[in-house]
């Protein structure tokens, strides 16, 4: 900053501000209607900027949560377990498939390390693609919490040994700590994990949703257990219909078609 004699600067600035109607000139207590209007306009602007900042913050928060979950996928598929664990808050919980609940960041680290067979990085010949797609992010009104549904697509296996297709939805919770979004609760339902040969039409679930809990018991049993493919389950949506549920005025048409498509047995209402 260039040094200018303070007095000259002050006088110059005050005259400018005075001309601009931003400061009172002459008697400090006296204000003109123009000055009052300028002050009111600044106050209004300040309020509007704050509102706009809050709206931009929402967009930034949603993007940060997408970034967090996508980064999770990129670390998981390379077996970078420490990077994965560091995405969670200290008091986070993790529940994948039917393995049960693991509490706290260090147990989560242990879980992922066990998933990787105790080593950092993949084994030679291991494929662990886990695509994180279809985010539905819902921000809490407090600005510090959020929920999101995602779909995880898995192409996994070991060359020469086995290969599986997998998929299922996450319903996760996130928390903002010191301005940084972290995973607070991760819950993934394994809809299918089936051998590549024959796929989901010919095979039941490959591991019945048990990945590591037989060797690393969880801190708590599964919060809800709905079996394994071909059992199916609709994990509840954390979000409300953003428009509204359709309310038919009378019984919906197409009943004949629907009845024809209905399997002969195993119907649940």
């Amino acid at each position: 900053m260039t040094r200018i004699p303070p007095q000259r600067t002050t006088l110059h600035l005050l005259s400018l501000l005075c001309a601009a109607g931003l400061v009172a000139c002459g008697e400090p207590a006296a204000t003109t209607p123009e000055q009052d209007a300028a002050a009111a306009e600044l106050a209004a602007l300040s309020t509007e900027v704050a509102l706009l900042e809050a709206r931009v913050q929402q967009v930034k928060d949603a993007n940060a949560i997408k970034r967090l979950q996508r980064a999770y996928g990129y670390y998981v598929e390379e077996g970078l377990w420490d990077e994965v664990a560091d995405l969670f808050s200290d008091d986070a919980s993790l529940e994948l498939a039917r393995d049960g609940v693991y509490h706290g960041k260090e147990r989560i680290r242990a879980y992922f390390t066990a998933l990787g067979g105790g080593q950092r990085g993949l084994r030679e010949g291991q494929l662990n693609e886990q695509l994180q797609v279809m985010p539905v992010v819902t921000l809490g009104t407090d600005g510090q919490t959020a929920k999101a549904r995602w779909r995880n697509i898995l192409l996994v296996g070991q060359l020469g040994e086995h290969a599986e297709w997998g998929e299922g939805p996450f319903e996760n919770e996130y928390v903002k700590e010191d301005g940084v979004w972290k995973i607070h609760r991760m819950r993934w339902q394994q809809a299918i994990l089936v051998p590549y040969q024959g796929g989901w039409a010919a095979n039941e679930d490959y591991n019945r949703g048990i990945w590591v809990s037989d060797t690393l018991p969880p801190d708590a049993p599964p919060t809800d257990d709905h079996g394994w493919w071909p059992e199916t389950y609709l994990p509840p949506f954390h979000f409300r219909n953003p428009v509204g549920t359709y309310q038919p005025e009378s019984a919906p048409a197409g009943g004949v078609e629907a009845a024809a498509a209905r399997p002969a047995a195993g119907v649940t209402p």
Binding site: L52, G73, L131, G157, G198
Partner: protein, 448 residues
């Protein structure tokens, strides 16, 4: 900030070092104005970079849709003049003309009979530079490739790309695809892993491959351009220039920014609604799905014709199964790669996106479906709704057959017992016949 500090220092000197909080209201005005200007300038920079993220996600999605259909000229046109291009082990092609030459070496221009080349662009992590003039992004590639009667493959890879903002338009300045896995459809990745490609002898690259690595089954981590999201921070956006501090200029800047923020929120809302559509569809939630349409909305899928209005939309959905009916059935309809354009008034949006479905019954048959959506969304009384849902199917493939020997058949067409309100608006062909689903947009760089 220097300006702000200068004002504060000067005011304190003038008023005899009175604490700021005790200043008369009118004396705080310049302080407030300067602080407001700084906040607005930062907000402008944040909005600029959020718009850049959206533009880059659109751009890569647009690239993917061009690449799918051998639209080589269109694809090459979204690169900078000095861009570099490397696909797996192709080596590096330097400059737009060489990129076009490389792309043309892959096949004739435009959709081809018997060719399937679905290259899905997924899982973006976009990092915009603080000045908003360049960006990097990681993407996941998931591909379904086939030559009818000859061969068919699954593939995956990781892009680490770079982008540049030139004359108001985002372009790709570096495309680098690290190939990960490629396997013939019949065997799958548990049996066969194909190696990384090698440079062409017919059209040798300008530079050798930038990095020495091997495909799966080797272990290789494509370098990550971004810092860890929790243990490190991305540098904050930097304002291009300070704003004038008079109330008139501040008002003008604020009024110009507000609608841009609205469009960012609109883009988020539209993408979210379309994703919700996918989840409702996947679980036969027909009343929920019908509810997201406008009262006069339309659905048009698989040449079944156009169903107009919510009661007809609801009736159409009965064609795909019974509401809430799930047992032993996989009906996973995924929504990927949205390219979203919001109208300037924020009341209407157009979206192209990709459909990929895993379907079938345990003990029955498994099926894959691929397709393209060209949808329209409208904001009605402040709420985004789906107004036109149109899916142009690329294929329905039995799990046990795949794409190599998939026999051509027309899309399902009209159901006599549950007919549409109007015939199909667009007659399309499915693989192995060639078809280019019309785009709602023009090339973002050339306007063609």
């Amino acid at each position: 900030m220097n300006r702000l500090l200068a004002y504060r220092a000067v005011l304190l000197a003038t008023l005899g070092a009175v604490p700021l909080g005790m200043l008369p209201v009118q004396a705080q005005a310049p302080e407030a104005a300067a602080a407001l200007a700084a906040r607005l300038a930062l907000l402008q920079a944040e909005v600029r970079n959020l718009e850049a993220e959206n533009a880059i996600e659109n751009l890569q999605g647009i690239f993917g849709f061009y690449y799918d259909k051998n639209e080589w000229q269109q694809a090459a046109d979204i690169f900078t003049e000095d861009a570099t291009f490397e696909w797996g082990g192709s080596g590096v092609y330097v400059g737009k003309p060489r990129i076009l030459a490389y792309l043309r070496s892959l096949g004739a221009e435009g959709p081809q009979e018997g060719l399937l080349n679905d290259q899905m662009q997924l899982q973006p992590i976009v990092t915009v530079a603080p000045d908003g003039l360049s960006a990097k992004a990681r993407w996941h590639l998931f591909s379904q490739e086939a030559r009818h009667g000859v061969e068919h493959f699954w593939g995956t890879g990781i892009y680490e790309n770079e982008y540049r903002f030139e004359a108001g338009v985002w372009k790709i300045s570096k495309l680098q695809l690290y190939s990960s896995m490629k396997t013939p459809y019949e065997a799958g990745w548990g049996v066969t892993a194909l190696p990384r490609s090698t440079p062409s002898s017919d059209l040798p690259p300008d530079l050798p491959p930038a990095m020495d690595y091997a495909n799966y089954p080797a272990v290789f981590v494509p370098p990550l351009h971004y810092p860890h999201p929790v243990t490190a921070a991305v540098p904050a956006p930097q304002p291009a220039e300070p704003l004038a501090t008079d109330p008139g200029s501040l008002r003008e800047a604020l009024d110009a920014l507000e609608p841009r923020v609205g469009l960012l929120q609109d883009a988020d809302a539209v993408e979210r609604l379309h994703t919700i559509y996918g989840y409702y569809l996947a679980h036969n939630q027909w009343d929920e799905l019908t509810g997201i349409f406008t009262p006069d909305g339309t659905i048009e899928i698989a040449l079944r014709g156009v169903y107009v209005g919510r009661p007809s939309v609801r009736r159409n959905l009965d064609l795909y199964g019974v509401q809430n009916e799930l047992r032993g059935t996989l009906h996973n309809h995924m929504q990927y790669q949205p390219v979203i354009h919001i109208a300037a008034d924020g009341q209407r949006a157009s979206m192209r996106s990709r459909a990929f479905s895993l379907m079938g019954n345990f003990g029955g048959t498994g099926r894959f479906m691929g397709g393209t959506y060209e949808n329209i969304f409208e904001k009605r009384e402040g709420v985004w709704m789906l107004h036109k849902d149109q899916q142009i199917n690329t294929y329905f493939a039995l799990y046990d057959v795949g794409w190599k020997d998939l026999e051509w058949r027309p899309a399902p067409g009209i159901t006599d017992s549950n007919p549409p309100d109007a015939p199909p608006t667009l007659q399309f062909e499915m693989y192995p016949r060639p078809f280019l689903p019309p785009y709602h947009y023009t090339n973002p760089v050339t306007g063609r």
